[in-house]
Symmetry: C2
Subunit: 225 residues, 2 copies
Amino acid sequence: MLEFPISIRPKADLLEEYALVARALAAPARLMLLEQLAQVERGVEALAEKTGLTLANCSQHLQHLRRAGLATSRRDGKAVIYRLTDAKTLTLMDLLRVVAERNRAQVDRILRGLTDGQDAPEPVSRDELAARIRDGAVTVLDVRPKDEYASGHIPGAHNVTLAELESLLPRLDPATEIVAYCRGPYCIYAHQAVATLRRHGLNARRLEGGLPEWREDGRQVVRIG
Amino acid sequence: MLEFPISIRPKADLLEEYALVARALAAPARLMLLEQLAQVERGVEALAEKTGLTLANCSQHLQHLRRAGLATSRRDGKAVIYRLTDAKTLTLMDLLRVVAERNRAQVDRILRGLTDGQDAPEPVSRDELAARIRDGAVTVLDVRPKDEYASGHIPGAHNVTLAELESLLPRLDPATEIVAYCRGPYCIYAHQAVATLRRHGLNARRLEGGLPEWREDGRQVVRIG
DNA sequence: CTAACAATCAATTAATTACTTGATTGACTG
DNA sequence: CAGTCAATCAAGTAATTAATTGATTGTTAG
């Protein structure tokens, strides 16, 4: 009779299992994929295009994420749709960022480079933004690509890509506060948008976290189509 | 004039920074070191002995942890003492465990092997244990090595290694609940102790987390010497 | 200053992991 | 059922990372 053998080095085997999860987070390509999956579930080909990975490479990275339990997949006709397993994955991603920002001077240097050395103001909390939306006292900008905006965005947010932002500047009111958001903790679009807006004298801040975190808080999200 | 160059691929560079933190967690040897550092700060030689790594290898792993911001070091005479940077590191370690336990059947299999296939009871929360200690209605066992017990333990806990446990069995009262704890989320001593105790008809459960988590809650810890 | 000790560095080898290419599988479509 | 499309697999190469060994640095003690 064949049984699953019990581990003869349980401690080493357990550590190996935990390390497997960490290894899944240990490649930039997979962090990029997780960021995408945090926006909306997608098939392998779409993910490959979004991230610039080749199809086979993308598939292999996704399988790595699935083995580690960070993503799951289901078949839908010819396509295999991947999504994040649960919010624990988002939490893990954000903790990585927090630790890196606290302890790696290099991270500050990169973020500062995004704003031409200006000091960026503190981000707006999601609670605060929700309150200001209720009062109508804020312009909300979603700085992600059109398709991601379409698959879910904060109610009332206007979709403006960075390329479009310049042409929008004259129509923005310097008296109204602007809050910009993007994909979440790893995304730099909102940083860049806020830097551009402030350079032009507008009162702009970033939202803390991005659309995935807003959704995860259980707040309302609007879909198109 | 030389300046720090601003990043020309800020997104890729940021992801590389976050992946660096994850990579630090991606080796069993380093997880073992982090578990040790969670008990008490130590020099490189002591850590090498505790983990079974060679001195040079241990030093290199510790430097990897330091680069990632998970550990920090200070010089004390001839010795270099390493410690965890902050509680974020503990949180990261525990999240790895949670994700692995939720999604990796292999983890269940290993943990079940520790208890001869018995179902283990739910662990006791730290709040509950604190309350029971106040009432005097519980025997607390610290199942770690003597030196780790000496460097900090839960008030009133008795230090019993697994090797000593058998000889203690006759002196334990089946009517009093026993709570066992060890190093924390990656440690299996408490699992094994509880399994042994229950096999002998005693009413034993594990503490949720270990000494580092208890300390992190801001609860009292006793030192010897 | 010299000896002793703790830790790190440098260089090599072994082992893993990432990416590419081309073949294969599975499921729908006409 | 053949054709098509999406994804995976398999095999090979390139790149990274881990562990070992021996030399070197910094610090204290005598």
